[in-house]
Assembly symmetry: C2
Homo-oligomer: 692 residues x 2
């Protein structure tokens, strides 16, 4: 007994014992009556984002696989169910889970409504099934004793109190069989499937465990997963050069846009444009009378974020545009930029929302040493943040009431993250059909955080991934399982801010290449036109990604009928996307090796696994490239060394391939890409009736 | 305005709207006043087990790296601190965090006391540092204006109210410099490091964010990470054959055990052994008078889990053994098997703790069709579970009071998981020095769960991993980052239940091989002796892993001085472990390719990265094997193509190697393994003074 009862090792005594006065959190027996008797463990429930802090994302009509590790001490038989309910619904729906092996279970949740679902896993020990399984073994081994039958009889008798008139007789017969009439009758009863089914239905779920925390999934419209965006400036849509375009002009252009197969039409801000410190053409710090300014310098005497720039038209014209677009299968997307021009009405009405400098002036936007005197950012640290948040949310609500369901949010990473979580959460609670595209060209973790806290889609680094290794690496990164649960990429080859060096130097073939990559690597993509389809490649100066004579600062007039326009190719690519489910999801992407650095090859397979699209792109806009692709045949559903047909949906050409290694040649003079559909089953002589 | 304000897509309407009567959880503005102004995001804090549901594990004296993603909207300068406090301490200690790149930050937490720590990350925007950084850029670009200096002056003036007498003058001078005396003085002030330091110290941490949830780490004694176990049956320790051994006999054997370098001595249950249904030798279902029975059939008229088997001695003899072992640097480990023999006093005193059958008898243990009439399991679903739990915990407390600090728990996976979490948590709260080894030879997820909820170490599948690919795969699996945070393997080549086919067929060389593997692959390992060092390989029958004449059912007398005993090799291996920190941790294990299937090669490097141990084992106990090792030189701290020395700590031999590819040959006739220490720095002619 002389031994040290408590061996306390103190490498270094850094605190006085007085500091230890905090009440030691005592570990008491669990308070909840049943807790100690719950023997089933549920952990690792998926999908799960950051331990349940954020919802996973799915789209309408998806069936969501919910998986979990489910196990208990000992060897008893378990049962598990997945449960779900839509936000606002009290009752849980539920479905069965099945064991996949290694204690992993899976159940399917049908997502039949838009909105936010909660889901969880419930599991318990099934004593009757356990008894039945053990009895089968004992009977087989000849060691079943009368008492073993009696144990089962007691269970069945207890279940009688829960049985209705139909099932009670079955149970009574079983009790009699197990109790009174000897092992031979008892044996038939043990093996009776009808009894097993009745007992399963009467299972009390005694001491059932429930997974914690409840997890969430947001169900978005299908367009959240699969969308083709077209951005254009309404003010450049006038039929005649030099005139300021209007909503009506854009409405007249809808057949052109729909003809290319786009289903989202995104407009830069449509609000009155500030006059103070207005920028001139090519971002000149000063403007002349008649200069139109930047649509992102929002607000003037005519109004702010809920007003329409008078030169574009009025609200009625806007409503007409929304309706006309929708009639063509196109949803309108508005750009929401939460910043103001110095003459935005809020600056005078709510000076408390902006950072005041010691001299009483408002702090304009800066990225030192650069200064943006035409833009005032909001001060999200201001004391009146509640009123500010409410008013900013009201901007979205205003446009939702006008029929807008899609918002492209400008630079969300320069606004308080908590605001977005609250704002998007509140908006989607009332309007689960809404889609928010995050324009956060910033560091990866900020982009991902915005996606977690509510943004439906996100711009990506795609514009700057040109080489094969860059593309493979980036798409592998954003295809990671945990990212896919909440991050939906939307790939843009160009934007009004981004005219990449590749597009500046590669001519029209560079635009073709980037189009095919964006539209087949990603389920959602977009282009800024007509600059894109007209292959506008002139930058304001060497080394800049800004367009020369950018529409951001002036009107442009585009020749939509130009000979080299990519509009027909775009239309074909978008039709291929519509007709091939493999291209409508970001799942199922696999890269395949090629023997040429400039040739990239990848496949996308649909969820049903039946149809695969195989893409080969020549990344070099200038030179013919040839080499072999080394296919991972399992990714495209082909058996080793089988002959199969690849049908190029772009050119219409068909090739017979065999096995993993096949030759390709792509010459920019004629074509830069193959978009093959893989046809596995080829007719052969064995398909003829008489071949038998 | 005619547009659909709410587009609700219902693929299938499955609920009546009446069911939607639940109050919709409205998204209100955040309640907490500051929440909206908190702009810093903290996520991905590590170490973290299951989102914080369980503590990570470390050992005394470790410095724990805490990492987190820390970022905010915009471009402001951030500061982050890691905070920690020992359970029961009110105040948080804290230390700095530094940015590692890609928004990942790291801080170090010194773990200087045993017990459970909480830790978290605090981060905020530093407005003064942000202003200073921006001002430096503006000054450099020549665009700093008087108002920019005034903004900083206002911050410094505000800080004056928080400054003490020493710092106030510095601030006052700075205000004057920034405000009144023109840009040249202001510029000097902006760049003044003393001002920056004072302002950093006065930082208000305005709108600071704190990571959630608070995470935990359990700090265990060093032996939790690095331990060498020896199991033996005290009743077989008598000096003379045929006599029942005692604690005193075992005490006399301590020099032998300490001489082999073990630091944990683990005894099978030491309690009175049941007489009802007692098993005879070789697990015979019946026993004869004089048979000793299985120590795991616990409890008889003499007492239960807190009594000592009279033939082993009394409590005084036990206490003497504990003290004598500790004097030799050995901690005693007791086996706690929570099950009873039919004549355990609890069966009569607490029939409610056991499952009663309809005929009033107690349900014995079964694994159908096998029956274990000599063992009654507890019914963890019984209504009296609270009393049961308390009494079982009291068993541990009894032996802790007798000086026991280590428990090997028998089959914990057949007892309710919640019980272990509560029991171990409560015990370690009072006695943070305790170590619990989980004997859960079961499916992986159950083993891992037991580790998460409190077990300090765990048995592993090591006994059955014999081939190179099996070993590499298994050790790669248990070295996964997320597992290492809570799962500490303890590798046993044999146990009283496990005499593997490899040991049965490989002779003494097989024992050598498994010893070197266990002791160098794992920081903790153990053997069941004297069966191990005497290379006892006789099984009860072909195809069984049970020993012939197993000590589980009878006394054995061992010839410790047998010629072939491995005791000297064991002593050498354990000394190598003590002298090489690389072998005292499960981190730093790397496998290296070899050109022979039967040769396995791996290295372990110490945390300091300076010393590496390189092991090569011939996995074939019968034949000479030779081939080349292909070293990953970075893992052992060697530059490409450098010459280095490998010094075999087993044989004493030294070899000069160069580069990645080196020849090895191991012949079981002489030796089965190399345990090299790698010496990087070789003397050369340049080390002589005159070589200059």
């Amino acid at each position: 007994m002389g031994a040290t009862v408590r061996m306390v090792a103190r490498v270094k005594s850094r605190r006085s014992t007085a500091n230890r006065g905090a009440p030691s959190p005592s570990i008491e027996l669990p308070a909840e009556a049943l807790l100690g008797q719950r023997r089933v463990i549920i952990e690792g429930v998926r999908p799960c984002v950051d331990g349940g802090a954020f919802p996973a994302k799915r789209t309408l009509g998806d069936e969501m696989a919910v998986t979990a590790d489910v196990f208990a001490d000992g060897h008893d038989c378990l049962r598990a169910r997945v449960q779900w309910r839509l936000d606002g619904v009290l009752e849980w729906d539920e479905g069965p889970m099945v064991a996949l092996g290694n204690d992993r279970w899976q159940g399917m949740v049908p997502l039949l409504e838009l909105g936010r679902y909660r889901f969880r896993v419930v599991a318990w020990i099934d004593p009757f099934r356990t008894w039945r399984r053990d009895m089968e073994k004992k009977i087989a081994a000849g060691v079943a004793e009368p008492i073993d039958f009696a144990v089962g009889a007691a269970m069945v008798r207890a279940a009688l109190s829960r049985a209705d008139g139909d099932r009670a007789p079955i149970l009574k017969r079983a009790v009699a069989g197990l109790e009174a009439q000897g092992p031979s009758v008892g044996r038939r009863t043990v093996l009776d499937d009808e009894l097993a089914a009745v007992m399963a239905g009467l299972d009390e779920r005694l001491f059932a465990s429930t997974s914690e925390p409840e997890l969430e999934v947001v169900v978005d419209p299908v367009r959240a997963r699969f969308s083709s965006w077209y951005e254009c400036f309404p003010r450049s849509c006038a039929a005649a050069a030099g005139r300021h375009g209007t909503f009506a002009d854009l409405e007249a252009r809808l057949p052109y846009i729909a003809g290319m197969g786009f289903d989202v039409l995104y407009l830069p801000p449509i609000h009155p444009i500030g006059r103070k410190h207005r920028k001139g053409p090519n971002n000149s710090p000063t403007s002349a009378p008649g200069d139109h300014g930047s649509p992102w310098a929002i607000g003037a005497a005519e109004g702010g974020h809920t007003a329409v720039h008078p030169e574009l038209g009025d609200l009625d014209a806007f409503r007409s545009l929304v309706a006309a677009a929708r009639a063509k299968g196109i949803e309108l997307a508005l750009d929401i930029a939460l910043q103001v021009a110095p003459d935005h009405p809020w600056v005078a009405e709510h000076p408390e929302w902006f950072r005041q400098r010691p001299d009483g002036t408002v702090q304009y936007a800066e990225n030192p040493p650069k200064k943006y005197q035409d833009i005032y950012p909001f001060d999200f640290e201001c004391a009146a943040w509640r009123e500010l948040w409410a008013e900013l949310r009201a901007v979205f609500e205003f446009w939702v009431a006008e029929g807008v369901t899609i918002f492209r949010v400008d630079n969300p990473h320069t606004k308080c993250f908590a605001f977005w979580q609250w704002c998007i959460g509140a908006l989607k609670q009332q309007h689960p059909e809404l889609i928010f595209l995050s324009e956060a060209f910033t560091r990866p973790k900020l982009m991902y955080r915005l996606a977690k806290l509510g943004f439906t889609q996100s711009y990506t680094y795609f514009p700057w991934r040109n080489h094969k290794t860059e593309i493979v690496e980036y798409f592998t990164e954003i295809s990671r399982l945990e990212l896919r649960e909440f991050f939906r990429p939307n790939h843009w080859p160009n934007t009004p801010d981004i005219l990449t060096a590749f597009l500046q130097t590669g001519g029209v073939r560079a635009f073709e290449i980037r189009l095919v990559l964006a539209a087949t690597l990603g389920a959602s993509y977009g282009v800024y036109g007509p600059a894109f389809e007209l292959a506008e490649g002139r930058a304001v100066r060497e080394g800049s990604e800004e367009y020369l004579d950018s529409e951001k600062y002036q009107l442009r007039h585009w020749d939509l009928d130009a000979k080299d326009s990519l509009r027909r190719l775009i239309a074909r690519v978008n039709r291929i996307r519509r007709e091939n489910p493999a291209l409508q999801s970001d799942l199922g992407l696999r890269f395949h090796d090629t023997t040429a650095d400039e040739l990239i090859c990848y496949s996308k397979s649909a969820a049903d696994g039946n149809t695969a699209v195989l893409v080969v792109v020549n990344l070099d806009p200038h030179h013919r490239q040839s080499g072999h692709v080394e296919l991972q045949l399992d990714a495209i559903g082909i058996d080793h060394e089988e002959q199969f047909q690849v049908h190029d949906l772009l050119s219409g050409a068909r090739y017979l391939w065999r096995g993993a290694r096949n030759y390709v040649e792509l010459d920019p003079e004629s074509t830069t890409a193959h978009v093959f559909v893989v046809r596995r089953r080829l007719r052969s002589e064995q398909d003829f009736d008489y071949f038998l």
